[in-house]
């Protein structure tokens, strides 16, 4: 429920078609193609969806810090649900780093700080990156991937986003 087919026999799918252009349902319905390995997972969000959700979260965060019964609350640090945990780290400049992880995953705090370092190194120091725009820096992506792999191995195994 809420999951979609991500890959068949190791090759990522493209909408309703497999990597080589066949319709998925047809492919799966044909016994001649068995045995077949199917990877399910949560649907990956598009960039626009991410932006929308992020701005929603930003407002909730602001509301959260105002509503807090404790004075001087810094805002939402963690949101826990049955299926995932959302961790948020806000810097002194107001930038928020949000990580969605498996509830059992540990070490997210240090991951968030590591991401902050990666951001300041590979996004900010890139002279062609404009502040507040989506980050499309190769080095940033590479180093981020590495940091996520390290965190995944260190904590218990779980998907990160």
């Amino acid at each position: 429920v809420g999951h979609a087919v991500l890959a068949i026999n190791g090759a990522e799918v493209n909408g309703r078609l497999t990597a080589d252009g066949k319709d998925i349902m047809e492919f799966l319905g044909n016994p001649a193609n068995y045995p077949v390995s199917i990877r399910f997972g949560r649907h990956r969000l598009s960039s626009n969806e991410k932006l929308m959700l992020a701005s929603m979260f930003h407002s909730l965060f602001a509301i959260g810090s105002q509503l807090s019964p404790e004075l001087g609350s810094s805002g939402i640090e963690m949101l826990e649900t049955d299926t995932f945990k959302l961790h948020c780290f806000q810097t002194l400049t107001g930038i928020k780093f949000v990580v969605l992880a498996d509830p059992k995953q540990t070490g997210i705090d240090s991951l968030l700080r590591k991401i902050y370092e990666i951001y300041s190194d590979f996004a900010l120091k890139n002279p062609f990156y404009s502040l507040e725009m989506p980050i499309r820096c190769e080095l940033f992506d590479q180093n981020l991937k590495l940091a996520l792999e390290v965190a995944e191995k260190a904590g218990s195994f779980g998907p990160g986003s």
Binding site: S74, T91, T93, Y119, S120, L124
Partner: protein
Amino acid sequence: SRELFVLTYGALVAQLCKDYEKDEDVNTCLDRMGYGIGIRLIEDFLARSAVKKCRSYSETADMIAQVAFKMYLGVTPSVSCSSAAGNEFSLILDKNPLVDFVEELPAERASLCYCNLLCGVIRGALEMVHLSAEVTFLQDKLKGDAVTEIGIVFLKNTEDKKHKRN
């Protein structure tokens, strides 16, 4: 590599002097460049130093002098508060690595603020943590003063309740 940085800075100032006739224009340009650096450098500073939020202007000035200057330029200016209101501070540098190879300003560039980039950097960095300030050179060894003094005047806070980022 410190030398390369200092030489690069010198080349930058020299080129600006060729590009602009008036000293004020060069100073403005340096300040603007510094600002561009400052707004990005602040994240690097916060990420690496993991400092806590400063609770007062005085703490902020100390942080700039003792942690930031040390981290990026390897020197620690001394801080003094120069107003009763507690919002004006001076950073006194007796060693400034940027001017290592500069003896004195040329005669026709008497009002050039050679290190004005630093003022821009401080101003930009402070702005990103929601503190607006005026940063200028009050004294300059290159102009014959005894020490090099950077003045920071914290202005009324730019953030208001509605647009509070936290």
